[in-house]
């Protein structure tokens, strides 16, 4: 039912249902806001998380919005809780995307985290200030080209040992 409505309403949408209660939607990046508001009006008004995947070979970042109805009674005709994974891909170099706070206020911390860990700039976000990290990183640390071992050797390895000075 929902599948048919999505297919008739949106172009360029691919719908897969690999598990029983998990619907996977992929769409080009111009359709995300309209799909989100469509699903919100359908009753899927609970945004679990916004996640991000770095596809370094395709030179793309994938944003994943995970939605469900807060209670299954909210959606008429639904017999068990349906999780909706809404995926889109954006370019990896200087990534920018629009914020979804206007639809889901709960998106704010997730977008801050993705900004911090993957470097995605969410336009219209009220405060993209540091959330979890303490230091500044040249490359955002969750990207695949961030060499953690090299970084550890450079930063933590360069701190001199105090006890060594003591023995001299």
């Amino acid at each position: 039912m929902l599948k048919q409505e999505l297919e008739t309403t949106f172009d360029n949408i691919t719908i897969r249902m690999e598990k029983k209660n998990q619907l996977e939607l992929s769409i080009t990046k111009d359709g995300i806001m309209s799909v989100l508001s469509f699903l919100k009006n359908k009753g899927y008004d609970h945004l679990h998380v916004i996640s991000c995947v770095d596809w370094i070979d395709d030179k793309q970042l994938e944003l994943v919005y995970i939605l469900s109805a807060y209670m299954k009674q909210d959606v008429p005709g639904e017999t068990e809780q349906l999780n909706i994974l809404l995926k889109t891909r954006i370019g990896r170099d200087d990534p920018k995307y629009i914020t979804s706070i206007a639809l889901f206020p709960a998106a704010e911390p997730y977008e801050r985290e993705i900004h911090e860990m993957f470097g995605v700039d969410f336009l219209g976000h009220p405060r993209l200030t540091p959330l979890l990290l303490e230091r500044d990183y040249d490359i955002p640390p969750f990207r695949k080209d961030f060499d953690t071992k090299q970084y550890v050797d450079d930063v933590f390895g360069s701190v001199p040992s105090v006890e060594g000075e003591d023995k001299n």
Partner: protein, 185 residues
């Protein structure tokens, strides 16, 4: 009381009192804190050893750092350590504060804790059992007996080096130095 130790009690009562009434502030950052509730409650009953958890660092004399230390927790570890009155002893629990442990290549975890604050004893293991905590504590007793648990003295004498390390990794610290820093005046 052990009668064999009467001589020690008369020779240096203050040191013996420090030994047998270690007031602990636990730093509940990593997975190591899961070993603390069984060790302070009835099963292993740490109060047999005079170890009792206290509410604030102002009352504590032993600082147990349980588990990995990320950059943000390092900041509060330093603040907690500097608030404790002397004499103070530090024991780190688990392999992560020793050399990073399984977080050896993590971008956000401190690898060697002893570069930032002095550590008197390190209990290895991932995670150490509560028995290992008591072995570590009894070992700390012998260190206190021999005046070898002198981390707070080393912190005082090497403060400028410690502070430089802390500022190197954390950026500018927002609290004033605890001791005067050499080379500034």
């Amino acid at each position: 009381m052990d009668r064999n130790q009467l001589k020690k009690w008369f020779q240096n009562p203050v040191k013996m009192a420090h030994k047998y009434s270690l007031h602990v502030v636990y730093f509940c950052t990593g997975c190591g804190i899961i070993e603390i509730p069984p060790s302070i409650t009835a099963r292993w009953d740490a109060e047999r050893f005079g170890i009792i958890p206290v509410a604030t660092p102002r009352q504590a004399s032993l600082f147990i750092i349980a588990g990995y230390v990320s950059l943000k927790t390092l900041r509060s570890i330093i603040r907690t350590y500097e608030q404790m009155p002397e004499p103070k002893f530090t024991v780190s629990l688990g392999s992560c504060p020793i050399n990073g442990g399984m977080y050896y290549d993590s971008y956000n975890t401190i690898k060697h804790l002893e570069k930032y604050i002095p550590v008197d004893g390190m209990i290895a293991g991932c995670m150490p059992r509560p028995e290992a905590i008591f072995v570590g504590v009894t070992h700390l007793w012998t260190l206190i007996d021999k005046d070898m648990a002198d981390g707070y003295k080393r912190y005082r004498s090497n403060y400028s080096a410690y502070r430089a390390n802390q500022e190197k990794i954390l950026g500018k610290l927002e609290w004033p130095p605890l001791f005067p820093i050499h080379g500034e005046e």
